[in-house]
């Protein structure tokens, strides 16, 4: 009876996304027919020639990949000869590393985040958690190809990206990133998928805040909208040549774009959905921390792809990023471990892995800019501050950020973003200009602070608006009996036997 009601109820909402998918496919078909007919006439040199009009335009620090030609761009003919951009050449070594890095970052989400979170909930909800993470992976893949990549990485507007590469129009077999002036270029397809894995993990991290109570039918539209509206926008600001990039904010691998973004969105979800039924009275202990350890381990290993991959080359930058990543993670884990040991008399595995992830989060924005010293301090600070956030802060404000998406990712991300301003150094970043405070450039703190504040504010508001919309259409929270029965059975008709 109940099942039947649900069925028809949900089926109605299921139809919506299916139609959307069909629509997407149709648009893809249309778009592609157009673009591929163009592609057929254009062979490689022609394709590269398209970029010629960009002559004289000083490439942004964060070079936008292979823009399609801007018909209105007026080449400054005087400078043409001196600065004519040379088409890039593909570097197999760099490409090899970026293919690998992409696989590693995907590994972080499936099964990494799925297991990290899945092990921490009660047994009756574990499948629901991995389902949310896995389905998010699928949804964002399609969204990213359809529009996300274009919104993040194209367009001249400082605040919002363009649609010129929707459905990856113009991204072909021989398109390179960066398009010009590099002998270390990689196929743009690789760049697209590498960036896609970042777009995937970010909403997947939000799941940790709202587990055990959000409807699957709410999660589907929420994730799609959030990725398009929030993720692509912030990514554009920081990496796509937007205003934060212009301002000189440093975020090597996604401290703001990924972690602050996801963590704050998680907090908004936790608050708007309300606490889990039984929170504070019932036993909600993690059902299987072995799974969480596997998840944390895969996060750690995969983070090499995340941070060292953000060098977009197999070079000294990548090596340095890997080193500081490893170090900060270990230091943060140890700091958390010893703090807990002193405070509670026992060091727990959940503590150690939480610390490791906090360290990884905090070193993310800094990983291309700081050395051994910076890694030590950032790791230690992340361990300390995140420990405080998930124990004291959460208790004080009584929000139910179930698996500490906010406490670890937003808080750790903020620690990292600010300390990047302190410890970034030209010795690691390369170049001659002073970088962070430690180099004497205290002014770097400003863009760091701006980027934190802007991300927090924008994400908080936009996430809340999206939740309000989704709530109005499908509702956000499962009924209390379903929460009690467990979401595995109630929402997915499956259970761990």
């Amino acid at each position: 009876m109940t099942a039947l009601v649900l069925k028809s109820n949900w089926a109605r909402w299921a139809r919506l996304p299916l139609m959307l998918l069909a629509l997407l496919c149709f648009v893809a078909l249309a778009g592609h027919t157009a673009s591929s007919s163009r592609a057929q006439t254009a062979d490689l040199p022609a394709l590269q020639a398209k970029t010629a009009p960009a002559d004289g335009v000083v490439p942004a620090q964060d070079a936008k990949p292979a823009e399609t030609a801007k018909p209105d761009a007026k080449p400054d003919e005087k400078k043409a000869d001196e600065k004519k951009p040379v088409p890039s050449t593909l570097n197999a070594g760099d490409t090899a590393w970026m293919l690998t890095a992409t696989a590693l970052v995907l590994l972080m989400t499936i099964p990494g985040v799925a297991l990290f979170y899945g092990g921490m909930v009660r047994k009756k909800n574990v499948l629901s958690v991995v389902m949310h993470v896995f389905a998010t992976t699928c949804l964002i893949t399609v969204v990213w190809v359809a529009i996300g990549y274009s919104l993040a990485f194209t367009g001249d507007n400082n605040w919002i990206g363009g649609a010129s590469k929707a459905f990856l129009k113009g991204v072909g077999l021989n398109t390179l990133f960066p398009e010009t002036d590099s002998t270390n270029a990689i196929p743009e397809t690789v760049f697209v998928v590498f960036q896609m894995t970042f777009a995937i993990i970010t909403p997947a991290l939000i799941v940790g805040a709202y587990v055990d109570r959000m409807k699957f039918a709410a999660m589907v539209p929420f994730m799609v909208l959030w990725s398009i509206v929030v993720y692509s926008t912030v990514a554009h600001w920081v990496w796509g040549g937007g205003w934060l990039a212009d301002m000189g904010a440093l975020d090597f691998a996604g401290g703001t774009v990924v972690h602050i973004n996801a963590g704050v969105a998680g907090l908004v979800c936790a608050v708007m959905l309300g606490r889990r039924t039984g929170y504070g009275t019932e036993n909600m202990a993690p059902h299987n921390l072995t799974l969480s350890v596997v998840g944390a381990s895969l996060l750690w290993v995969g983070w090499f792809g995340f941070n060292a991959g953000s060098a977009v080359a197999a070079n000294g930058n990548a090596g340095m990023a890997m080193l500081v990543t490893q170090l900060a993670s270990a230091v943060a884990a140890l700091v958390w471990m010893f703090l807990e040991w002193m405070a509670r008399g026992k060091a727990s595995i959940l503590g150690v892995i939480s610390g490791a992830v906090a360290g990884l989060v905090a070193i993310t924005p800094a990983s291309g800019y700081v050395g051994v010293l910076g890694a030590f301090v950032i790791g230690a600070a992340a361990g300390l501050v995140c420990y405080w956030a998930v124990t004291s802060l959460k208790r004080t404000f009584k929000y139910d950020d179930a698996l500490d998406a906010f406490g670890v990712h937003a808080v750790g991300g903020i620690v990292g973003a600010l300390l990047t301003g302190v410890f970034a150094t030209k010795a690691v970043k390369g170049g001659d200009a002073a970088v962070g405070w430690i180099d004497g450039n205290a002014a770097q703190m400003l863009p760091q602070i701006y980027s934190v504040v802007a991300t927090v504010a924008f994400t908080a508001v936009a996430t809340a608006v999206i939740l309000v919309i989704v709530k109005a259409i499908v509702g956000l929270r499962v009924p209390v009996e379903q929460e009690r029965e467990g979401l595995d059975l109630a929402e997915h008709g499956e259970t761990v036997h």
Binding site: A3, T281, E282, G493, T495
Partner: protein, 112 residues
């Protein structure tokens, strides 16, 4: 002595325990069981296959009490475990012929 054996909904365990402690009961034994009754089970679907699961997770609480406490214990349990919806469970009372506390060797009423 009597053994009061109650089948209840799992999430009611803590409330029932508190109710029993309120009566001065100092011990009890709990078993995870599966119950079949008027309350309908659920259906699991795996690709092509559907399995109707008749059995639902329940908790069995067994508590040995002195004869004169029996009635109050049964009532306390029933009160704490009641939700009013189907599947709330049963309480059965059995006679215990003999009881022994292993640690001390005490017998019968002293043992519980």
């Amino acid at each position: 002595m009597k053994l009061v054996s109650a089948i209840i909904k799992p999430f009611k365990l803590d409330e029932v325990r508190e109710a029993l402690l309120g009566l001065g009961v100092t011990g009890m034994t709990v078993t995870e069981v599966k119950g079949f009754g008027r309350q309908k089970g659920h259906t699991e679907i795996y690709r092509g296959a559907e399995y109707a699961i008749g059995f639902l997770p329940k908790i069995k609480i067994e508590v040995a009490v002195k004869a004169d406490v029996t009635e109050r214990a049964v009532e306390a349990i029933a009160k704490a475990a009641r939700t009013g919806s189907i599947g709330d469970g049963k309480v059965f009372v059995f006679d215990i012929e003999h009881a022994l506390r292993i640690r001390t060797g005490e017998s019968n009423d002293d043992a519980i």
